[in-house]
Symmetry: D2
Subunit: 365 residues, 4 copies
């Protein structure tokens, strides 16, 4: 793949970006159409060889987006192409079935590298906890030194936040959607619900009780969980930026090969991973806001709210993965200076239950 341009690569790693790219959506839509045909063939609703033919058609993006302008949905021109090969393509389904199921499939696939980045963050936090269990530093409230803590305890708090958000994301049900033109599966007769369940199983998605074309919780819950994961990451990134300040100097990101340098002052050592993570997290929150707003849609398919979900979901996924990836990078090369921590310490006190809390946090890894 050629350059992905100027800004995206700064904030999103390739594996995540690939997973939410237009090509990934197209692949997901084709997988959804194929699963639909397979489920219908298994139920005897369409011919088996039609299902095989449909599964074999893998058109490229071409000008699909431009062709979608007249309908507002890329499924309309896509189905037109599929039906050149088989009249049974898209049988009994509607655009929204394909796009909603594809959205969940894209999310499921994108969550693999996203969760891997979150796992890496958790693992690196755990390593810091273990290494700096006894590295005493200032606890700071309202950015004033308060009482001593250890860097291990601080990292334990980071670990708890990111691990908890990761677990929620991992457990989130991602349901397939199949309802037909208005949510009754009218064209599938008595076989409808069984086909819908089979369809979900073929896609590796959850089978919903009923179609969710008007109940956008699957998308909104995902958006919220991504925003919370991004928020947990952002908190760590903020702490790193603050600890890396010239006047604090308790941590520094890696500087090999000029990393963290500036165009005007090559000697600088900017906490670039943490900075990128903070920027990416803001994009997630904005996109999640679009997804929450989209819950209020008209009748059996919203006229605009639904359409606002596609790019927002991609953005939320991409930038959550990006925030975790940038933080992972920041933590990977993080130089921690316990001597400076101790030297900066201007308050006294003992460490209370720090070790207990550290042990409890490590169980979350």
């Amino acid at each position: 793949m050629t350059s992905r341009g100027l800004f995206t690569p700064i904030f999103v790693p390739d594996a995540v970006q690939d997973a939410v790219a237009d090509e990934a959506w197209l692949r997901a839509m084709l997988d959804v159409e194929a699963a639909l045909a397979a489920a219908e063939a298994a139920a005897g609703v369409i011919p088996r060889d039609a299902a095989e033919a449909i599964a074999a058609i893998r058109p490229g993006l071409g000008d699909l987006g431009i062709a979608a302008r007249d309908s507002g949905s890329p499924v309309v021109p896509l189905v037109r192409r599929l039906r050149e090969f088989s009249e049974w393509a898209h049988h009994g389904a509607t655009s929204q079935d394909i796009l909603d199921s594809a959205a969940m499939l894209v999310a499921k696939r994108a969550l693999v590298p996203i969760l891997a980045e979150l796992d890496a963050v958790v693992a690196r936090c755990a390593a810091l906890v273990r290494e700096h269990r006894d590295s005493v530093m200032a606890g700071r409230t309202l950015l004033q030194q308060a009482e001593p803590i250890t860097f291990g305890l601080k990292a334990a708090g980071w670990l708890a936040g990111v691990a908890g958000a990761r677990d929620r994301l991992r457990e989130l049900p991602l349901p397939a959607q199949l309802g037909g033109a208005a949510g009754t599966l009218a064209k599938l007769g008595e076989h409808g619900p069984a086909i819908a369940d089979d369809f979900a199983a073929l896609l590796g998605l959850a089978a919903p009780r009923l179609p969710w074309h008007g109940d956008r919780r699957p998308v909104a819950e995902l958006g919220a969980a991504l925003a919370i994961a991004a928020g947990a990451v952002e908190k760590v990134a903020l702490d790193i930026v603050l600890l890396a300040q010239t006047e604090v100097g308790e941590v520094a990101e890696a500087s090999e090969g000029g990393r963290g340098g500036s165009s005007a002052m090559p000697h600088k050592r900017n906490p670039v991973g943490a900075i990128r993570a903070r920027a990416a997290a803001r994009s997630v929150r904005a996109a999640a806001g679009v997804l929450l707003e989209a819950m209020a849609g008209e009748h059996e398919r919203a006229a605009g709210a639904w359409h606002s979900e596609w790019r927002a979901l991609s953005d939320a996924l991409a930038n959550t993965g990006g925030a975790a990836w940038s933080l992972h990078e920041a933590l990977d090369g993080l130089a921690v200076d316990p001597d400076r921590m101790r030297a900066n310490l201007a308050v006294e006190g003992d460490l209370g239950a720090a070790q207990t809390f550290i042990d409890r946090a490590l169980e979350l890894e």
Copy 2:
């Protein structure tokens, strides 16, 4: 209590507003201080009669808010008052312990009437499902008639959305917070973690593994769950507003006693419950945005982000309860016109799996 003014009563019912009002926060803060003292007394850290004395002090709001300007936290002047009665008040705790635990207590208490309103919405949807299982109407996608559905199926989708969001809200863990000045419980010595667990139990809150002063998921998750509940409510309200249009006329809200009238045109029959619900839901989303943004806080206590949570949490709770209450009111008096539904129907088709989906939705009640 006298009038609560001009706007709040329109959008929030008294029971919910009482539960998030400043008086409720004060009561929660006092309950938290009392639970802290009780847990410390049980551990032998403070005298038992001190704990009893602290539990007995119930100062009024007075000018607490004004007195809080100098510290940015109402706990500072509150503790000053408590310590006039017992030097053991607030022992080993910090402002944030009290406010964070109080926030969870306020939420726990406010969720009682909020969940009751959501339950009422679910029950009324279920009644509509049962009553209109066979009331055929147009399914509408992009606000164009698509295929026939039944009003029972539409209400089944409403039910599924609101019930699911309600269940999530009900299951959300609401943890107490106790960390002391910087999260180590330094002042409580070896007893810290046990006191923290006991403290949570006394408040009827969950006991967290470790202090969450820097891990704001409890607040953010709550905000997100409230936004999603409000969104599920808003979707129903939007459908009602659309079905109640003069040109559609398939439902109407109650009009007894001039309800739904206007200042210029007393004959109008506006869907006022649904309208109020829509407005309230927007406030929830805005407040939830503040809570999500607040996740990124500095070190052991954020300098501003934390302070932004208090009113936003109250707003999110109040308006979620308000949205559900207004929708409940709308549904309570909803006149459904199956004849008009049939007369409006301009498309043909059979009803597919509508009954199956209806049955599945009813299980969620």
Copy 3:
């Protein structure tokens, strides 16, 4: 007036809170009804003594909010009361005329103390600029020391941001709204447009070309300008919080009388004004988001979006005033330590055009 409770006084000064309180809205609504009657009497549309009678009625809030539940608008029960005194009250108007005009009147009145606070911030920045024109300190990019600047130059940047936002707010047109039931002023016959202009003049508001019940720019522009003013304030507050860090120590807020202390550590000197300003600014952005979203309303009056504006506008005004007030307080007592600035300085370089930029900024005062 008694206590305003727990949280509001922390973030909003009394003068601003009074200006957006429910009582202020009621007063504005009554002023609007009176101006309407006066303009109509001047045009000979209603009797002159009816106008005088209407101007003399000043009912209290009573249970107006509760009475408004049935219509979703406090104007409906208010007009009912007014008409007990004069059948000519509210002649030819609709709820939205009254509430929209009242909103602009509330804004106009609230902007007096808000702009006064912004002026005070600008003046205090200017004083810092003059005093610290030559106080050399580190310029910091990405929170790393970059090149020297002066504190005067930093404060000049603060000044420019706040002054510019203030000027925009000051220049914003605040139009009256008068359209009647659907925007035609049908009940006022040929006199409509002239009465509308006179009505605006009596209220000291701008006369719009045409009714803006469906064109919500007056509200949205105001929301955006408030968010930008709050953002300019928030930037200064963030810099103060950072400069006040224990490890930086270049500025400190006043600490007389225990100001800035904590419940656990009375010795602390927290930058409480800046912290409060940051929290308030976040509320403004959330409220402005509601106002921007409310632009998309249905037909001649939105069913929910409009209703979401009232509290959001009050919040946006209150917290912009509050953010400016808290920052004003922070700046008023700000102790600046030029020696520490110089001691912290770890980079070298000359000061370039700092003095020129300072001079240019001071012209904005």
Copy 4:
């Protein structure tokens, strides 16, 4: 240029997308570096042939984004490339100077097609006003019929909203940014301010009083103005969607060539332009939220907030243009049915000042 993928072309026209694409940002950055060199050469600060050499270097995107990961800014690797050709490239500037000035240049260029689309919307509204000055229809408040208006008056309200938002966008100052490493232009000696003014003039941008690296109003004001323009567009789109409902049928978008059809029901005539406009407008609001939040940045360059602006600004520009373009398309082919309007009319009354308001609105064209 090949396909732009699946979703972007649905919501954003090519001319606007080209203007905010990564290639456009690269071109703008190169133009900015060239202008800087030219201004410096004119002041005698760098050799004239160095400026010419710099202006002649036009590297492609290549892997610039990937190379930017180590610094978080694409300017760092770009400058590295430019300096292979001339050591004078980027003299005295910092990354932010280049990116901020490029952002304003991108905005200035993108506003050409965006304003053209807004002009087209205004013109088409004006045509509808003229054509339907006397087409009586129902005025609808809270989606209930209220009093008669004309479709001309409704379109006059649309015109006023979009024209006003367009005018604000057109008048917005777009300043160049030049401050050097920390805002003093230290490396340019006494020539700094004059070079900065000349630099702005060469770029066709406004010359700011002082560098605005810490005063983000230029970006935030632009974001707000775009959100308001998108909101004005969204309002029209919402009205069209509502008027096009099967049960209302007063307008319909063009249906030539199957436009507005669906994958399941080719006979449908969906208001696809209005739908796309609504979705695009939501993206603008989300992006504007990021830009407003970014105002609060740390010291002389924000560590994350600044980095969040680039993609958000592109999104806000692209989708404002996209919303206007989709609405333009909706209006272009809009079939208006005055007979249906009259047939739907269920309320009586005269038209008051409708003609006066129409005439006033037309002056805004």
